[in-house]
Amino acid sequence: MSQINLLSGSEAANRPQPKGGSSSIFLSLSLLLVVFGAYFGLLFYKEMLQKSFDAKEAESVEMKKRISGEKADRVSDFFDRITVIDANLKVTAESPNAPLAEIEQKMVPTANISSYKYDAEEGLVQTVIAADSFRAVAEQIVAFKEAFSSVMVEGDTRVGVDGKIVATLLIIP
């Protein structure tokens, strides 16, 4: 069956129009408004951040000027002195007489020292001992080994002008 339009032209004109057209304009404008709002909002926020950043930087520069002068010098100077002293106290914790004190305790009756050299920088002791016999020299070395980490004979062990056996010992405390 064929379709017949029974409405007259005036009726079609009077019928209510669909609202799609005006709402799309409204939505479009709203969307653009949101976009521009976001843009200008960000622009304002950025300006605010920049001002805040500049203010903080300026304040930092001003504050930095206070890290100098008499007080800072005094504090830094005392700290430096304490640092140097503390390091030195640790390095020199052992008395320079410490190796001598050990040697005193470990002398055998048949030997004596004729020369003592302590190199504090190297931590080495060089002693020349005069003993009654070669055996006494050996005994003295054994006795020293009880107190020191290393005892070595340096060079010749020989009879001296006074008849004593002379030996040079290198000791590592």
Binding site: G20, G21, S22, S24, I25, S28, L31, L32, V34, V35, A38, Y39, L42, Y45, K46, L49, Q50, S52, F53, K56, E57, S60, M63, K64, K65, I67, S68, G69, K71, A72, D73, R74, V75, S76, D77, F78, F79, D80, R81, I82, T83, V84, I85, D86, N88, L89, V91, T92, P96, N97, L100, S114, S115, Y116, K117, Y118, D119, A120, E121, V128
Partner: protein
């Protein structure tokens, strides 16, 4: 009608385009700037903390002026050969020794400069390492984003020294006592060597008087040091300022060590027209 229907999709496309090409870069810039502001705030807080620490440390020194005086006396800011000479003479006499000679040898300034250069290079490297570790991706944008890094003022390399060789005659116990007295003297020092030997037997025809058999010859080399004062350059973040109070533990250790004080040398010079005559 067709235009109206196309308006909304078109506005979406425009909005997207504006969002991508306009808003997104600006949002990124704003985020970056916010990170910079946060870092600037952290930096400011750090600087304020340092300024506050300096005030507190200064007050801390006021409250412990005795410790400060002890430290300044022990490690002076200027070298004083007169003080060293007087101390050595006094302590040798106190130990009953005969002081034969003293020699002073300044520690080479070249060695000190080399040590300073090495120390500064190490400090720079530490600073760079620390700074690069604390930086993020944004940090490379600006130097303002770098947080302050505390550096050492390298006091070791600024220390100046003089090696003093001391020759004495005396008994073993006396030399030992003398070394002990210097070790406990109220003066920054470090022993370099101690040399004790029997005095050589008198040769025939030698006019010098014979000494007692128990008299030994001692040669001691001690390094005395001083630390010249350095001024803090503006805005320097020294390690010293990274605390609010001093640790006086080292001063207590020093008090335990420096038990022997030598009274200062007081002189009364008198004008003389001919200084060659007394």
């Amino acid at each position: 009608m067709k235009v109206k229907l196309l308006l909304f999709p078109l506005s979406i496309v425009i909005a997207l385009a504006l969002g991508i090409f306009w808003i997104q870069p600006m949002a990124s810039e704003a985020l970056m700037l916010r990170a910079r502001v946060n870092t600037a705030q952290e930096k400011l807080d750090k600087i304020s903390q340092v300024v506050s620490n300096i005030d507190r440390l200064d007050r801390n020194l006021d409250e412990n002026s005795g410790n400060e005086a002890l430290v300044r006396n022990y490690l002076p800011e200027k070298g004083s050969d007169d003080r060293i000479l007087d101390e050595v003479n006094f302590l040798a006499g106190d130990s009953g020794l005969l002081l034969l000679a003293t020699g002073m040898d300044r520690v080479s300034s070249e060695a000190a400069i080399a040590a300073q250069a090495a120390s500064e290079a190490a400090a720079d490297k530490a600073e760079l390492d620390s700074a690069s570790a604390s930086r993020g991706l944004i940090a490379s944008e600006s130097s303002a984003l770098t947080l302050p890094v505390f550096v050492s003022s390298s006091p070791m390399s600024r220390t100046r020294s003089v090696d003093v060789s001391i020759s004495v005659f005396g008994k073993y116990e006396q030399i030992r006592d003398f070394a002990d007295r210097i070790y406990h003297a109220n003066h920054f020092q470090r022993f370099l060597s101690v040399d004790i030997k029997k005095k050589e037997a008198k040769k025939e025809g030698d006019a010098a008087p014979e000494t007692a058999p128990d008299v030994l010859e001692g040669n001691i080399v001690v390094r005395f040091s001083f630390l010249p004062t350095a001024h803090v350059s503006e805005g320097s973040f020294l390690v010293a300022f990274d605390r609010s109070s001093f640790d006086f533990g080292s001063v207590q250790d020093l008090r335990a060590r420096a038990t022997r004080d030598v009274s200062p040398l007081i002189v009364a010079p008198t004008p003389r027209p001919n200084p060659f005559l007394r």
